[in-house]
């Protein structure tokens, strides 16, 4: 059977799985409420008096920091806990088929959540005459960033059978990736390591790459950055799962 079809089979089951419990709806409501509240109350959407969605997108890394690990934590930890992982890995499918299918399901679910914020776009379009370029770039960037966080979450979910541990570990690693460009992380490194290394760490920052995108710059480098983060962490997920088989 070809790989795309297998991935699609896993993807469909996993995606439907999100909606099989009320957790999905709770998640969507929390996400929308949080994104809205931060935009209007902390981001001062109206007071800024500007027809753009910068005060909406600027909080996405922080919202994702907790919500993406929450989506990703069940990917593998739950399968291990219930033992269904044994069923899954004795089917004639490759490990990466399952990893890709599950990740795509989580990513599309995050995409649904993001898409449901469309009223804010309509709002800004009605109130003023926004430049739609940066808004589209912001949505694309936000979606890619969500994928990055989810890939990290997928990898850490594969390491444990406990969803809470998977969540905490993923939140910590996601935080490190978000803050890689900030002085909090760079300051201590600068004292002990050469400048080249500091620049390297800074270049790993989700915040910096996303900031460029929400300004309206869809640079190939930024796209490649998020896609490689996703690729690297999904590859790591496959490695972790194969390693666990040999343990």
């Amino acid at each position: 059977m070809n790989a795309a079809r297998t991935v699609a089979v896993i993807f469909r089951r996993e995606f439907a799985g999100y909606f099989a419990s009320p957790v999905a709806y709770v998640f969507l409501i929390v996400f929308l409420a949080l994104a809205g509240a931060l935009t209007f109350f902390i981001g001062n959407f109206f007071q800024r008096n500007q027809a753009d969605l910068d005060s909406f997108f600027v909080f996405h890394p922080w919202v994702y920091l907790f919500l993406m690990p929450a989506i990703a934590m069940r990917l593998w930890a739950e399968e291990r806990k219930t033992g269904t992982v044994e069923l899954l890995f004795t089917l004639p499918i490759a490990t990466w088929h399952a990893v890709a299918g599950k990740f795509l399901a989580a990513w599309l679910f995050a995409g649904v959540a993001l898409a449901l914020t469309f009223p804010i776009w309509i709002t800004v379009a009605n109130l003023g005459a926004p430049d739609h370029g940066p808004i589209i770039a912001g949505y694309i960037g936000s979606f890619l960033m969500a994928g990055g966080y989810l890939a990290i979450g997928s990898c850490l979910s594969a390491t444990t059978r406990n969803q809470v541990i998977a969540f905490v570990l993923a939140a910590i690693v996601c935080f490190a990736f978000s803050m890689a460009g900030a002085e909090v992380v760079l300051g201590p490194i600068r004292d002990i390591l050469p400048q080249d290394f500091v620049n390297l760490v800074a270049s790993f920052s989700f915040l910096n790459h996303f900031a460029e995108m929400r300004k309206g710059v869809i640079d190939l480098r930024n796209l490649l950055y998020f896609l490689s983060v996703i690729g690297v962490f999904l590859f790591a997920t496959v490695l972790v799962l194969d390693l666990k088989k040999a343990e």
Partner: protein, 320 residues
């Protein structure tokens, strides 16, 4: 159809499976027996490709599970221990998912699902979420998914565990019906099951094979195999009892009941069948017989003797 070569698995310092080799051909039903933690499930998990062996390998229909896992897995139907299933799905949705991931599509898949629903008798619960099903039905859904692609090789880890007697009987019936065209491995610790379904039995303990033969041959190893138990209405005279002990092939006569009860066990020499001689003797002396029985030897006894002997061997090794 299944070739297992010196399969070994270490978990840290523990040797869960230690150089196990065997092969299973078409038409065979192999029963895996052993105490809990003997390595039965670990062996099955390695054959099905869920865990990677420390050493050795297994091949299914000629496909090595380490070098061609997908080809090997597509020929295996596997029921893992405890029958883990996606609890949030309906039985129908679950079977469709398994069918799709095994490459069955459209009408072919619908036919396959119908077939296993019939075999496992799931018609009444098809549209219920699996988490609402009873243990018996859950196990049968697990069995149904293992049969869905009509595999050449079936590996069932405790298929009747937790079922009621009727359901057990049904599952054994299903296994017996399929046996001629497949190679089947089941694990169990219910010894009567071995009689009911297995053409061959293997006893495994601490990761090592202790015995591999037919259930009847295993029973022949039992201490009381071919012993004749005799109960008479009245206590026969001492002299005649002694004469019974002198018959050809008889080693000795044991008292079989409590003191004074007219119950005797006639212990034969190994391989000898003394029942005809005993019958003739009893008729000749005119004893009034209440019960006359040839003991088959019990699998339980063989199982205990073998595993206890292996444990003693390990203790002796450890003491050196």
């Amino acid at each position: 159809m299944i070739e297992v070569q010196s399969l070994t698995k270490h978990f840290g310092p523990i040797r869960a499976v230690d150089g196990v080799s065997f092969s299973v051909g078409k038409g065979e039903v192999l029963g895996f027996l052993g105490p809990n933690g003997a390595g039965k499930s670990t062996t099955m998990k390695m054959i099905t490709g869920f865990i990677t062996p420390t050493a050795g390998t297994a091949a299914v229909c000629g496909h090595d599970i380490r070098t061609a896992p997908i080809a090997a897995k597509s020929r295996i139907g596997y029921l893992p221990e405890g029958a883990p299933l996606y609890a949030d799905m309906t039985a129908r949705g679950f079977l469709n998912f398994i069918g799709a991931s095994r490459g069955l599509r459209g009408a072919e898949r619908a036919k396959a699902v119908d077939r296993v629903v019939e075999i496992a008798q799931l018609k009444t619960v098809l549209d219920q979420p699996i988490e609402t099903l009873s243990k018996g039905f859950t196990r049968r859904v697990g069995l149904a998914q293992a049969l869905l692609h009509d595999p050449d090789v079936l590996i069932l880890d405790e298929p009747t565990d937790g079922l009621d007697p009727n359901q057990k009987h049904h599952v054994r019936q299903v296994i017996n019906d399929m046996a001629p065209d497949k190679a089947i491995v089941i694990s169990t610790h219910i010894l009567e099951e071995v009689h009911a379904v297995c053409s061959r039995a293997m006893i495994i303990d601490h990761g090592r094979l202790l015995a591999d033969s037919t259930p009847a041959e295993l029973e022949a190893r039992a201490q009381h195999h071919n012993t004749v138990t005799l109960r008479t209405l009245a206590m026969p005279p001492d002299g005649e009892r002694a004469a019974l002990g002198q018959l050809d092939g008889v080693i000795e006569i044991e008292a079989g009941g409590s003191a004074g009860e007219p119950v005797f066990r006639v212990i034969p020499q190994e391989g000898a069948n003394v029942l005809p001689a005993v019958t003739a003797f009893v008729a000749e002396k005119g004893w009034q017989v209440d019960e006359l029985r040839l003991e088959q030897g019990r699998l339980d006894d063989v199982f205990r003797e073998l595993t206890a002997a292996a444990a003693a061997g390990r203790d002796a090794e450890a003491a050196q």
